[in-house]
């Protein structure tokens, strides 16, 4: 039996490690004695918010998680769907917010590294990444530093691995100033039969630790950084910052996939938050077996490490595998081939206990399932925040709005120079978005499209996936239920614009302190909204991540339930981009514009307001619009497709014109005031262009889907001309749209000056 801590010290240390008194009592009860120091560390980490989901677990049960494509739902390292012809895709999104706020480059880089390990752990080769980012406004040097560093870190890590980063999103809002969000999504491809689960089995089998050495870096990272509020003292927690080694990770990918190809492994798991502790205990509890680990076998990069330090270290780029004794030699030979350390550190046992030894002496002996399954589950209190009534009652009609063509045109230019709308080229040009030569639709449009196949082995298909990540935190702040639904709607609409059919989503739920009833209410509403829409549209949630305690100086961030959606495409040779193509093409709006300026970028950019009710979302109409758009794209009729999102119709038209290098002339016949007609962010709208001769076919599709539509005008010329509302030449728009971000990042100017200049 391990040496217990003293009866005085144990409860005090427990509190310091983040266990509350009743959780500590529960540990004592499970063990039937006072825990040893190693046990206390292990429980405190496994029962931390980050690892145990103790505040969110119940609410997450609302999500629909099954569907025709689902091979693996939530509960494993990543969800997996089948994409046809025996191919499967694994994906998941995860946050690395707090580490990135301390050290943006390494925080973001290791975030990418972590989520990619979750993917190849499942047996899939990582084939694409996305990133969803939130910062404060770029007029603050610290925010520029965080943004630049995070983008460089994401690129630095992903580029080195040779995994294309094909999409993402970024918003700059005051609400994220003290707590940036870095959500990384990874997608991997495999043959269905290769699906691997992290389930330990086979008494006597060896536990093999593969990859990097273990140091003191990131000790307690998961509990320290992700499970408490973030304050100015955060900088003192510096030693827990980890430096990523993408080269090691690249070798791990190759070695692990080769090990799986040769069927040398019983189980494979990655070491993420809480390191060896969580990886080993999860494997054991899933398999209903015990594990016996000797910590001194773990290769260490620092001297005199204590057993508990080794067990909880979050040193990056490590994997844990279960191997039968017969296959051990072959497995280690593959690790050696890739220049990786591999060390047997223990064995699978039949005791059901997770036993840790130091030089043979037991320092921890815990029922394995108690670590994962006996974690506390809370039912946090909820209160609807008082501010909601006030914001939702706001009527934008009470403001003075621009009306003349000159004023409206100026307003459009102002929106195109908004950091939330302007081109993200500055970001994605720092990401390798083409490696693996499967990227069919590059970043810069609505959704990215990837061809499915293994180019390296010549196993190509015509199938593809379309991917998008979305969430407008402002909408979620103004109405979390609807805002979360819009996040899903927008992701699905983006995917429809390239011809994709939504198959499943992952999510990353970024919220404040769940122990605050108002925060928890927004969390619960967001999940409810997302679940209702997922159920209605038949889109399951197959993986996800919760990030709480995103607060700074006592204020929660906007509720930010980021959605990462994967859609399916049968034939990647028939897709569409946002760019206008040829003069004479007819411009058609699918859907309808309403007087909905609440929560809009217009209200923010022009009036400095984040208020009002966000746009309405009719789930049925949204589905019909998407279905019509998808049909038009798949029929090869749609020459361009672009959904209306932030900035409204005017921005959508401007973006398509800029992307195509050709203008348009349209008339918006909608009885609305100019600002509403142009900048309203009404949902369920997509702008399509078709050759004149294809109009009949298009109308048939609209008819079959029963969608409202309007013919707006024609592509052509070098100006964006919106009858009686806007008239501006392409180049003026392009210069503003394309260069805002790099200028803001360079600190060369503030948005305001840029516009005035």
């Amino acid at each position: 039996m391990p040496e217990s801590l003293s009866a005085e010290l144990a409860p005090k240390l427990a509190v310091e490690l983040g266990l509350n008194p009743s959780e500590y009592e529960h540990v004592v009860e499970i063990l039937g004695r006072i825990p040893s120091i190693t046990e206390l560390y292990v429980y405190s980490l496994m029962w931390s918010e980050h690892c145990s989901y103790k505040h969110s677990r119940k609410a997450l049960r609302m999500f629909p998680t099954t569907g025709e494509h689902v091979l693996q739902g939530p509960g494993e390292n990543a969800g997996v769907i089948s994409v046809g012809d025996g191919w499967a895709v694994a994906f998941k999104m995860e946050s690395h917010n707090h580490p990135s706020a301390i050290e943006p480059y390494q925080g973001a880089a290791t975030g990418v590294g972590g989520i990619i390990r979750d993917i190849f752990t499942m047996g899939a080769r990582p084939i694409a990444s996305l990133n969803s980012l939130r910062f404060g406004t770029l007029d603050k040097p610290r925010q520029r530093y965080l943004f630049e560093g995070a983008v460089a870190g994401i690129g630095g890590y992903g580029n080195c691995l040779g995994v294309p980063t094909v999409g993402g999103e970024v918003y700059f809002e005051e609400a994220y100033e003290g707590n940036c969000l870095i959500n990384a999504m990874s997608i991997g491809l495999m043959r269905e039969e290769r699906l691997m689960r992290a389930v330990a089995a086979g008494v006597g089998n060896k536990i093999l630790l593969i990859g990097s050495t273990t140091g003191r870096d990131g000790i307690g990272g998961a509990s320290v950084l992700a499970s408490q509020e973030f304050d100015e003292k955060a900088e003192d927690k510096r030693p827990s910052v980890q430096v990523g080694d993408p080269f090691e990770e690249k070798l791990l990918i190759e070695a692990c996939l080769e090990l799986l190809d040769q069927e040398l492994l019983v189980a494979l798991g990655d070491l993420g938050a809480a390191g060896l502790t969580s990886s080993a205990s999860e494997m054991a509890s899933r398999g209903g077996v015990g594990l016996d680990i000797e910590v001194t076998k773990v290769p260490q990069r620092e001297e005199n490490m204590k057993a508990f330090e080794i067990m909880v270290s979050e040193s990056q780029e490590r994997m844990l595998a279960v191997v039968t004794p017969e296959k051990l030699e072959a497995a280690q030979a593959i690790c050696e081939k890739w220049g990786l350390l591999s060390t047997v550190i223990g064995e699978v046992t039949d005791t059901g206990n997770f036993v840790v030894r130091e030089n043979g002496v037991i320092v921890a002996d815990m029922p394995a399932d108690s670590l994962a399954d006996d974690a506390p589950i809370y039912d946090p209190a909820m209160t609807r925040p008082a501010y909601l009534d006030e914001v939702q009652a706001f009527d934008p009609a009470t403001l003075i709005h621009p009306e003349s063509v000159a004023e409206l045109t100026e307003t459009l230019l102002r929106l195109l120079s908004s950091p939330n709308i302007c081109s993200r080229r500055w970001i994605w040009e720092q990401y390798d978005h083409q490696v693996m030569v499967n990227t069919v639709v590059l970043p810069g449009g609505d959704a990215a499209v990837l061809r499915i196949g293994d180019t390296g082995r010549g196993e190509m298909t015509t199938r593809g996936i379309a991917v998008s990540s979305d969430c407008n935190g402002r909408y979620c702040y103004l109405d979390p239920y609807r805002g979360a639904q819009i996040a899903l709607a927008e992701a699905a609409r983006n995917v429809a614009c390239v011809g994709g059919e939504p198959a499943a989503i992952t999510d990353c739920l970024n919220f404040g302190n769940p122990e605050k009833p108002e925060v928890f209410w927004t969390f619960h509403e967001a999940i409810r909204g997302l679940s209702d829409a997922c159920t209605e549209w038949g889109i399951p949630v197959i993986s996800g991540n919760v990030s709480f305690y995103n607060e700074s100086f006592g204020n929660p961030i906007y509720p930010t339930p980021t959605v990462g959606l994967v859609g399916l495409i049968d034939d990647v040779s028939v897709t569409a981009t946002v760019a206008f193509k040829d003069a004479g093409d007819v411009i058609v709006l699918v859907g309808e514009t309403f007087d909905e300026l609440g929560g809009s970028e217009y209200l923010k950019s022009v009036h400095g307001l984040v208020t009002g009710a966000p746009p309405a979302l009719d789930l049925e109409l949204e589905a019909a619009v998407q279905s019509a758009v998808r049909a038009a794209v798949r029929a090869g009729i749609a020459k361009s497709a672009h959904d209306c999102s932030e900035g409204g119709m005017a921005v959508t038209l401007a973006e398509s014109a800029i992307a195509g290098g050709i203008g348009c002339s349209v008339y918006l016949d909608d009885d609305l005031a100019g600002v509403s007609s142009l900048f309203s962010e009404s949902q369920s709208r997509v702008v399509l262009t078709v050759a004149e001769g294809d109009m009949d076919g298009l109308l048939e599709i609209f008819d079959a889907n029963e969608v409202p539509f309007a013919v707006l005008g024609q592509v052509g010329g070098e100006r964006l001309h919106i009858g009686e509302k806007i008239d501006v030449d392409l180049n003026t728009m392009k210069l503003i749209f394309e260069h805002t971000l790099e200028k803001l990042v360079g600190g060369e100017m503030q948005t305001e000056e840029l516009f005035e200049g």
Partner: protein, 232 residues
């Protein structure tokens, strides 16, 4: 035609090169960096990526891989060797090509389409007419080519400059057209003999029209003609 595509630890464009070769109907096979037998290959490609993490300097460690002495021997015997991106960096570190590649002057990684002008050169890997403008993407952090003046004029005299970054119309901008600060807008160079060729842009990304274009095809097809000439 059989290409050998050398994989160093950290290479990551090898499958793209193999795909390009297959797409054009050629054979291509991976050669692991520990291998020392290159028999049976007509031409070798060192693909892009981050060999050894690009730690110390890009290509600095890969240069010492066991396969490299064979690559050098292969080239010395006249065998064609092409280094793309990281492959170019490795060839430069191994002194099989002149010059060195510094950090982009923007200090940023750059992944974007570029326009390149084919120069008059002795390069065996490209038979495209000089003056032709090609669209080929770049994807690197350290593609800022540099060499001393003596080397530069020797390369010019020997027609060793194969590709230059240019404006879409083929001209070179006054302040330079290179997105990375490369000396004289140099994007690709060959050795005196013309059989060893290194370039920063990624032609393999624009071979399969489904995912790019076709401007990169000549970088894989020209060598066939060259080898036929030698054999004939």
């Amino acid at each position: 035609m059989r290409f050998g595509v050398v994989i160093f630890p950290g290479s990551n464009c090898e499958q793209d090169v193999v795909h390009a070769a297959h797409h054009l109907g050629f054979e291509a096979e991976y050669v692991f960096h520990r291998e020392t037998d290159l028999a049976g290959f007509d031409a070798l490609v060192l693909p892009g990526g981050f060999s050894y993490g690009d730690y110390i300097r890009c290509g600095a460690v890969a240069r010492f891989s066991p396969v490299m002495s064979e690559v050098i021997r292969f080239a010395e015997a006249g065998g064609p060797v092409m280094g793309i991106c990281n492959g170019f960096q490795i060839l430069a570190e191994a002194h099989m090509l002149p010059g060195a590649l510094l950090r982009n002057d923007t200090l940023k990684f750059i992944c974007r389409d570029t326009t390149l002008r084919v120069e008059k050169s002795t390069c065996q890997w490209l038979d495209t007419a000089p003056g032709t403008v090609l669209h080929i993407p770049i994807n690197h952090n350290e593609g800022n080519f540099i060499c001393d003046h003596v080397t530069l004029s020797r390369m010019e005299d020997n027609d060793q400059i194969v590709l230059r970054y240019c404006e879409p119309d083929g001209s070179r901008a006054e302040g330079g057209s290179a997105p990375n600060g490369a000396l004289e807008d140099i994007a690709g160079v060959c050795n005196e003999r013309g059989n060893v060729f290194g370039l920063m842009p990624h032609p393999e990304r624009v071979v399969d029209p489904a995912t790019g274009g076709t401007d990169g095809q000549a970088f894989f097809t020209s060598i066939v003609g060259t080898l036929a000439k030698v054999a004939g």
